[in-house]
Amino acid sequence: MKPAPVHLDLAAAADAPGELRRLAASGNPVVLAGLDGLEPGEAGGLLAFFLHDPAVTAPVEPFATLLAAMVHRRGLGLWDLQPGVAQSEAEAGFLRTLPVEQPGCLACSSFPVCQGYGAWAGSCATWRTLLTDLAAAARELGRLRPRQSRRPIQRGTDVPS
């Protein structure tokens, strides 16, 4: 039976890195809530723990899902990971105005995953840090994985090489 995920509310945690270390040691998946409220350096520290600490034996979300999507080049955006957000309305409304209101977003290297969510949530710098580090890790993992032969694309997917 898969171990149940445990949630870590970052806004309420007095020592988020320590809490994460303690929860990760239990072997249960950890779901981080409240990344939007962290400074880039704090969030980057949690990600570095997930990416590099041998004590991590189970997924830390949303990092694990984002990393897997990047490695496998699956289209996944931050809006897709926000169950608490009235997603479609907020997303559609915000994205419609993005070219005029936030033109910088559309030239950002993190946009393919961020998709404007960081600007909407006021956590742009935090997510840029996280997504830049995750992309670097995904590239590294991609180099380590055996090369797959090119297959014809399947309908409904969109993974241009």
Partner: protein, 365 residues
């Protein structure tokens, strides 16, 4: 492979009514030092950020206006690229009216065994004509040049720009081209409201709507179908292979990845997204000679255009079942129609009509 559409001159000996190229007045010609800077930039790019291969498409203006000395510089410069380890191919897009037997050796040297010639044709009088020459001379010279290419075993393809005056018999036009040039590739493009075609009097005569383009595709597809669906007819061949076999080798305006595959260069060495960007003065990266390969690779314009695909899929194209067939279309078209690349092209509704008729299970042609 990175494709560089290189315009060594914006001068032209023709006066096509709908020409989409910019006409800045005095024609510019690429200087030897500029050519050298262009080769250096793209050689660096191919080796550090690309696949090590470059395809140059010589375009214009009319590239055959360039003197033999220019082409000697091209061959010499490309030899240097090959010595650096870059694989080089060439193609040329020309109106062919300046092709003479004495031009053939340099053309063959440029094209090698893999290159080909692209040209444009329009049998309707008054559409494509030569400056200062009687009506019909363009067509005569073009036909003579095509005979010469055939005799010399040089591969060629023909582009036809679909405009209003051609709409009534596109099937007949298709059959006529195929009968006279059965071995040639054939491509049909819609007329774009750019360059001379942006002038109201030209657009009023020749311009087509999205719906007319959709119906034109339906008509042409019927002719293509009756012809046995040859693979080298665009845009149908690549769409059919995508539909049947999932092969993703769409032309630049439909691939959704033009920002990673194409560049355009003007006679002064200005570097743009593609040839249409040169003509429309849009998406300019900078200047060969001062622009570095790394700067070009990580340029905000490239990121913006790659992000365009993601943005459209989340917004205007969110529920479109034909996304894989067009990816929102050409960013230049979007800018022409809406003033922003972050919109589908103005041809969108026509394309959807065509896709529904050609490829939807119940309505396949």
């Amino acid at each position: 492979m990175t494709t560089v559409i290189l315009k060594p001159t914006d001068g032209c000996n023709a006066r096509c009514r709908y020409c989409s190229a910019a006409h800045p007045g005095a024609a510019r010609r690429m200087a030897p030092a500029t050519l050298e800077a262009v080769f250096a930039l793209f050689g660096d790019f191919a080796l550090s950020h690309g696949t090590g291969a470059l395809k140059f498409i010589w375009h214009g203006g009319e590239p055959l206006l360039m003197p033999p000395a220019f082409w000697e510089d091209v061959v010499r410069g490309q030899g240097e690229l090959e010595r650096r380890g870059v694989r080089v191919e060439n193609g040329i897009q020309t109106n062919l009216t300046l092709l003479r037997p004495e031009t053939i050796p340099i053309l063959k040297r440029l094209l090698g065994s893999r290159g080909s010639v692209g040209t444009s044709a329009d049998p309707l009088p008054g559409i494509r004509e030569l400056t200062g020459a009687p009506e019909g001379r363009y067509g005569e010279r073009l036909e003579a040049a095509l005979r010469l290419l055939k005799a010399e075993d040089i591969r060629y393809g023909i582009l036809f720009v679909v405009h209003r005056l051609a709409l009534h018999d596109l099937g007949g036009l298709y059959r006529s081209f195929r009968a006279r040039h059965p071995e040639a590739g054939l491509r049909f493009n819609p007329l774009y409201r750019q360059g001379r075609a942006s002038e109201d009097r030209v657009w009023d005569d020749l311009g087509i709507t999205a719906e007319e383009w959709g119906q034109a595709l339906v008509d042409l597809h019927e002719a293509w179908d009756a012809d046995g669906r040859p693979a080298n007819i665009q845009p149908f061949g690549p769409w059919q292979r995508l539909q049947e076999r999932g092969e993703w080798q769409l032309s630049c305006e439909c691939s959704g990845k033009c920002a990673t595959s194409h560049f355009g260069v003007d006679p002064d060495g200005g570097v743009f997204l593609c040839g249409r960007s040169v003509d429309g003065a849009s998406f300019r990266f900078g200047q060969a000679g001062s622009l570095g390969a790394g700067e070009l690779f990580d340029h905000p314009i490239r990121r913006t255009l790659e992000n365009r695909r993601v943005y459209l899929r989340k917004t205007s194209c969110r529920d479109c079942p034909w996304w894989l067939h067009c990816h929102g279309g050409c960013a230049n078209d979007a800018v022409l129609g809406s003033g922003t690349p972050f919109a589908p092209t103005t041809l969108c509704s026509g394309l959807r009509t065509f896709f529904e008729k050609a490829y939807a299970p119940a309505g396949a042609l």
